[in-house]
């Protein structure tokens, strides 16, 4: 059995977002690129599942749809412990385009378990995982916050509005994961970094498909007015303002 973890590359979460080209494109100057936080956690859990499987899971593969610039991020996933990687050599234009590419990767590689993140921290599509499961017609769960392999079945916990569910799902299976799937991402050790250099990173051409959506323009949120500060002994005054003036409470 093989697990595929889909990883996207996003700006570091502390990045101050700026746009260029008349607000038509992200200003990438000085941006540090990282593995999308969810995908890093998904990879961490995939490796744990493999290690606990007693050989039933042969390999954990990572796949990215992206240009050659994404390779350092892919190498980082290999350093963390992925066995090999696939890069579909095309820019990630929209969710449909990416999902179609990944569906091809899953089919040609025979992956029975696929993991994606809840959303990419850049354009917050929250789309690729759900689309990919639909294209593959795989059994699928979203907001997965715990996952284990149990005798050829998946046992998963998921968040629902106001609670949690534990479910059992048959393979083939795609998990869209979120917080809880792992708490801290696995950090590459020196040995992992050395080994990552020689692990296989296969580059494949994209299949032919189009885009269905396009971000035509960006804007930054309106800045808020100055904060009205109250001293520690003016709690009553603040409550008064919130009640009588702002009518919030």
């Amino acid at each position: 059995m093989k697990i595929l973890v889909c990883i996207s590359e996003v700006p570091d979460t502390t990045t101050k977002i700026r746009f260029t080209d008349g607000n038509k494109a992200l200003d990438t100057a000085g941006i540090q690129w990282i593995i999308n936080p969810w995908d890093e956690l998904a990879l961490t859990r995939a490796l744990e599942i493999k290690e606990a499987s007693g050989g039933a899971v042969e390999a954990v593969t990572v796949a990215t749809v992206g240009a050659a610039q994404a390779e350092p991020t892919i190498r980082k996933a290999l350093a963390v412990g992925a066995d090999n990687a696939i890069r579909v050599d095309a820019p990630a234009t929209d969710a449909w385009y990416v999902a179609v590419q990944l569906a091809e990767v899953v089919k040609s590689g025979g992956f029975e378990i696929v993991m994606t993140g809840r959303d990419s921290a850049d354009y917050n599509g929250a789309s690729v995982g759900g689309m990919l499961a639909a294209l593959l017609d795989y059994n699928t769960l979203s907001s997965v916050s715990s996952m284990a392999l149990d005798g050829g079945k998946i046992i998963a916990g998921r968040e629902i509005d106001g609670g949690t569910e534990t479910l059992e799902a048959e393979l083939p299976f795609l998990a869209v994961v979120q917080k809880g799937i792992a708490i801290e991402p696995r950090i590459p050790a020196m040995r992992g970094i050395m080994m990552a250099r020689t692990k296989p990173l296969q580059v494949v051409p994209p299949v032919d498909t189009g885009c269905l959506t396009e971000n035509v323009e960006f804007e930054l949120p309106k800045s808020r007015g100055a904060c009205r500060k109250f001293a520690a002994d003016e709690v009553k005054a603040l409550v008064d303002v919130l009640h009588n003036e702002a009518k919030l409470i």
Binding site: T13, A121, I155, V216, E217, P221, K229, K236, L248
Partner: protein, 321 residues
């Protein structure tokens, strides 16, 4: 032509996110010169279904009442069948956990363009252009959809619930033969009686500045007094002081309440991303230079240990009047 709304129910009742979505759909249908049809999957009583008419649905498709857990594959097939039957050109989902899971499944099966996290009515209908949140609250994008059928999810609390009218929706049985599900429920745990973080008008949130789980009683007390939901920063849920479901921010919940009260939260960029759509922000922090004050509208510089009990007492007083 029609606008199809996925009317999500929670234990047989329509939640606020569904009513907000119908309010949005009604405006969209007006602009497109068409009507709104809703689809409800799972067990909902007829009078509850009829009520959707008050928010603009002319018809409600009542489907598969025996479905009590979300099987994305099965639900998506039902919704796709409804899209075809109603010749819907716009399909709307709430930005709730389950709505967000269904939208891409339906979009892919229809090869329809999808925009998630929509925060306003379209600025153009031909071609369709809508504003959505990107970079987890740090920016917005105007996104164009180029397919004839469009799927959108609406960010919760971004549009508001319209005043209910007097309309009554026609209820129509819409059974779809579903294959045996390959997903089965082992266990479910639900909190009852608590305001949902993503639905709440007011959220009271605590950070690492509260020092330990024992001090969250103050957060709960204030929240209860205000009819608010409780939230927290990431380290607080990572430490297990509070459940993961309360974690607010880039890697937790993104919320848009009318009032957000942040206590002992420094205001890290990843936290602020999750609250930047709040209409008003109040911060309680003993460091006058804490970055949370840069995004707050009101602030108290002080120790939560004295500020929160005083705030609770003062609010009790104004509420009693």
């Amino acid at each position: 032509m029609s606008v199809l709304v996925y009317a999500e129910n929670r234990d047989g009742l329509f939640r606020k996110a569904t009513l907000e979505l119908l309010s949005y759909a009604a405006e969209m249908a007006k602009a497109m010169n068409t009507h709104v049809v809703a689809i409800a999957i799972g067990c909902v009583q007829t009078d509850e279904l009829v009520k959707l008419g008050q928010y603009g649905a002319v018809k409600v498709l009542k489907s598969n009442p025996d479905f009590n857990i979300l099987d994305i594959k099965a639900f998506a097939k039902i919704i796709v069948a409804a899209v075809e039957k109603e010749q819907a050109t716009v399909i709307l989902f709430p930005g709730s956990i389950n709505g967000s899971a269904l939208a891409p499944a339906v979009a892919a099966r229809l090869k329809a363009g999808l925009v998630t996290g929509v925060v306003a009515l379209p600025t153009s209908f031909d071609p369709l252009v809508v504003k959505k949140m990107v970079f987890t609250g740090k920016a917005f994008a105007a996104t164009k959809v180029t397919t004839p059928v469009k799927v959108l999810t609406l960010s919760q609390n971004s549009f508001g619930v319209a005043e209910p009218g007097t309309g009554a929706a026609v209820v129509e049985e819409f059974g779809v033969e579903a294959a045996k599900s390959a997903i089965s429920l082992v266990e479910v745990k639900k909190q009852t009686g608590k305001v949902l973080l993503t639905d709440a008008e007011i959220v009271v949130s605590g950070g690492r500045g509260l020092k330990g789980p024992e001090n969250f009683g103050l957060i709960e007390e204030l929240a209860e007094l205000l009819g608010a939901a409780t939230g927290c920063s990431r380290p607080v849920s990572d430490e297990g002081w509070r459940p993961h479901s309360e974690h607010v921010g880039q890697t937790g919940k993104i919320i848009a309440p009318v009032l957000y009260i942040a206590c002992g939260i420094s205001g890290a960029i990843q936290h602020v991303g999750g609250i930047s759509s709040s209409k008003h922000i109040v911060a309680v922090n003993n460091d006058k230079d804490a970055p949370i004050f840069d995004v707050a509208d009101y602030g108290i510089v002080g120790d939560f240990k004295t500020v929160l009990p005083e705030m609770i007492a003062a609010i009790r007083e104004v509420k009693a009047k």
